[in-house]
Symmetry: C2
């Protein structure tokens, strides 16, 4: 299968679940409309795709797969809230996202801010709700919530905002990206395994496969980000669906601004190679890694 086939299967799988997050009555609410506008604005669904790959790799009953889908929609809500807030004028000030006007451009800044709050809060409600009927998922729910917070995405965004106009070193850039984009990618790669195995915190930390998946997530998360930085320089806005050349205009520290284009390309190759090494360990342990190999190749070469 090609990455395009995986992506279209993921969209078909995910979209009905996203459509059912809010009731018809709730969909009359202006903030729900704004949240759904961004949730359905044609994202790549790369995190849900990773969740399917992990589930496919380790094998998964239909019942568990329905729960993976529930968590995939939840993670996509968290990701979308972060995009809505990041795009605000006070943050990255982006007018265009995935080729469409950003949420605040359509609904205004007040509603957009609240739509982000709504998505985060609803995501957390969902994480609690499923644990009420399936207590064995409680740690997986906590893990997804925590990766969105100070130890993860919010912490990374904080370093990012705090670094504006400052010179930062490679170590801080690593920490920034590990948290800002890496943490949700870790949620995507690892949570399905926690769910399917019903792992608690101690088990999750001791399990060898879980450790390999966290390592894999680290490498593909970095590969994703480095390629993003490269695309900001090389790509065409009409292909990328957002404005390019922004990092340089905003004097943002990226892997390209710190290492140069060739240096960033080398770093990307290194992460891809490291991801392949983890995949080979997973293969030796008996797992089917074909999906992740297609994904890894895509992350190295994607042009949007």
């Amino acid at each position: 299968m090609t990455i395009g086939q995986y992506a279209s299967d993921t969209a078909k799988w995910l979209d009905p679940e996203l459509g059912s997050v809010f009731s018809d009555e709730q969909k009359e609410d202006i903030t729900v409309k704004a949240a759904l506008y961004s949730l359905n604005a044609g994202g790549k669904r790369i995190r849900p795709l990773m969740m399917r790959m992990t589930a496919g790799m380790i094998g998964c009953s239909d019942e568990k797969m329905a729960d993976v889908l529930y968590y995939a929609a939840t993670l996509e809500m968290i990701h979308t809230y972060s995009l809505i807030h990041d795009d605000l004028p006070a943050m990255d000030n982006d007018d265009l996202r995935r080729g469409k006007p950003t949420c605040h451009k359509v609904f205004g800044e007040g509603i957009a801010t609240l739509a982000g709050d709504l998505l985060l809060n609803t995501a957390c409600e969902r994480l609690f709700k499923i644990a009420l009927s399936k207590p064995e998922y409680l740690y997986a729910s906590y893990y997804m919530c925590k990766n969105a917070g100070l130890d993860g995405m919010v912490g990374g965004q904080s370093i990012d905002l705090d670094s504006e106009g400052k010179t930062i070193g490679l170590d801080l850039l690593y920490e920034l990206q590990r948290k800002k984009t890496g943490a949700l990618i870790e949620s995507a790669v690892v949570t399905p395994y926690y769910l399917i195995k019903g792992l608690d915190e101690k088990q999750a930390n001791e399990d060898i496969t879980a450790g390999l998946l966290r390592k894999l997530a680290g490498h593909i998360g970095l590969a994703f980000q480095i390629r993003d930085d490269i695309l900001d320089v090389l790509s065409d806005p009409s292909i990328l669906g957002k404005n390019t050349g922004k990092d340089e205009r905003d004097s943002k520290a990226t892997f390209v601004t710190l290492l140069g284009l060739d240096g960033a390309q080398d770093k990307l190759s290194g992460e891809i190679k490291a991801a392949y090494e983890v995949l080979s360990a997973l293969e030796k342990a008996g797992y089917d890694t074909n999906g992740y190999k297609v994904l890894t190749d895509y992350l190295e070469k994607r042009d949007s």
Copy 2:
């Protein structure tokens, strides 16, 4: 005891817990600094005070009281995030809160937006974390999260933003306030009971005392809001700690703009009377309602 004594006891009880939410290392982060600035900006701590009153009313072991404190700090974090976002220029555009410059005035809008996100996410992490070691609290945690969302605070704020510049009726104003301010007050009044009794959803819905507490919360929540609307007209900014006369300038629908000052005062008296009726039912059931009587009298007459 006077309300002032209750308030100062609440502050002494709550402040160390709020101080320990973030580690010393985390406190170096700019967004954590912004969150703590608002969290420590001298709020009335009315919700934590209510939580103490409920715990005192039904009786509570020291161990359970430590958990009530944990939830009280968590609820105060949710309340504070909502204030930070509400104060943003794109929402209510307030420069002054509790007599101090608002979060975005000190830290900028980007960091203030993120500080709100941080407080909400950290609150949810805390709600999960305690349920990991005490699964009997899972419903209480879900309940506190849900009351902050579309069925509660965020839903109320959405109606509020959507009503700007429109004429709304009393029914919609009730719904707005029941959700926007009422839902967190319900969390404050009711959650300690759920915790202390370890109630699940079914038990919480069937329990007679829980039903009375939800009713009490409804009346004191409305009383709180109506008095707020009256104070916006009558009070002095130096006493209130925020700007006054704002509702009229913003053409906001409030109990005063819809009912007039006398009508709002009548409505307030009605809610106070209804609250006393619930308290008398609780007293008949053997509970000590002295604390809530002092609070109810305060809500009727407070001038800040």
